[in-house]
């Protein structure tokens, strides 16, 4: 991905909240690429919900920077933990984050088996 100038703040670096946008877009792209159908989930009353994000800011991204956004995944009980890193195209680490999601079924906590099935090749 590439920094877009409207994502910068008045110090000329990407605003802290926009990294959460990058991370979300990465997770959604990963899900879509692996055939996870949000429509199918919704039809079954399943909703994935973010419950915790820990993010460390290492090196700010600036105008024109290109970056790579990576993730790996683990399952801990009912939670899916996304380990996400954003690297500048120079190889430098920009942010590192741990993002925890759960799955709700009609408002109640679900075991997440449908998600687990989709992700089985990736779950450690």
């Amino acid at each position: 991905m590439e920094v877009r100038d409207y994502e910068l703040d008045s110090e000329g670096i990407v605003n802290n909240a926009n990294y959460l946008h990058y991370l979300e877009h990465t997770r959604h792209s990963f899900c879509t690429a692996n055939g996870l159908s949000f429509a199918e989930m919704q039809a079954k009353g399943l909703v994935p919900v973010l419950n915790k994000v820990e993010i460390e800011y290492k090196t700010p991204l600036r105008s024109g920077d290109r970056f790579v956004s990576k993730l790996w995944l683990e399952r801990k009980g009912v939670r899916f933990i996304f380990h996400q890193d954003i690297f500048k195209s120079t190889g430098e680490l920009s942010v590192t984050a741990v993002v925890s999601c759960v799955c709700l079924e009609n408002g109640r906590l679900d075991r997440g088996d449908m998600l687990a099935e989709v992700f089985e090749d990736f779950l450690s």
Copy 2:
């Protein structure tokens, strides 16, 4: 309202797209204050849709600026035209905009009578 620092861009002025956010929030606050129920509209299959925005940028808003966002309303055929101005607390005009909306009923153009009823005291 008041400028929030995350709305600034790297030149230290509010990014052009954020004025559309201010204008939208103003319209929604106006609708809510006048008892327009989006839930009731949705139950009838009615959806208000933006079809045109003309916005002129006069004086940029900066960190810490406070501003007043005003509107008046007219009906032209099936369109509702919002005339919107944002003034800095100093009285200076910041942006002036003309925003045109229509109402869809189950995907087809609606005459907008439900909206007109809500807005009747304001329609010129």
Copy 3:
């Protein structure tokens, strides 16, 4: 480009302000691709400033949609007019916009000759 899910609003379509982000990113990419150096401009005290946007919303973009963002350019006195269109990958027109910019030199209106030089191959 591709719609990112955080750009959607509660109706599941891209929020009206985000199209201005797409249009800005397109202009900046065009400028960069043609060798316009904002650093060089700033060193000369030149600042490009948006003074008017007219945008018509034709077909909303939704989750997963891919789109192409095009522009052409004309000069009218001190103004540079960007004519911008966003097409869905299906070929359908999503938004069409006319964006007017001027160039300030140390806060005063500039004739824009530096910009014109960069853009000369594109100016009609």
Copy 4:
């Protein structure tokens, strides 16, 4: 503060990144209210930098929700730790966050004494 509709995502709840905007605006308002001059800091080459955010999402905010954003502050070595909570007007906890900042002086880590002086009445 109050939820603005453009902050919602397609599920009708505030998008996860927007809570970071609320938290940032709260910190900046707190600083300004306590006489911290960013201009004065910049003149001395001091830049406050976010280095870590931990945020837990408890109850989503929705259209029309009003909320109160609170913080308290501690100093740990060179870091300033903001403990921040957002409560719905019903009293329910929406998000709870721990935000860690440092102060850079001309790109190098600063002891943060200038910030500490401003915040001294609040530091535990």
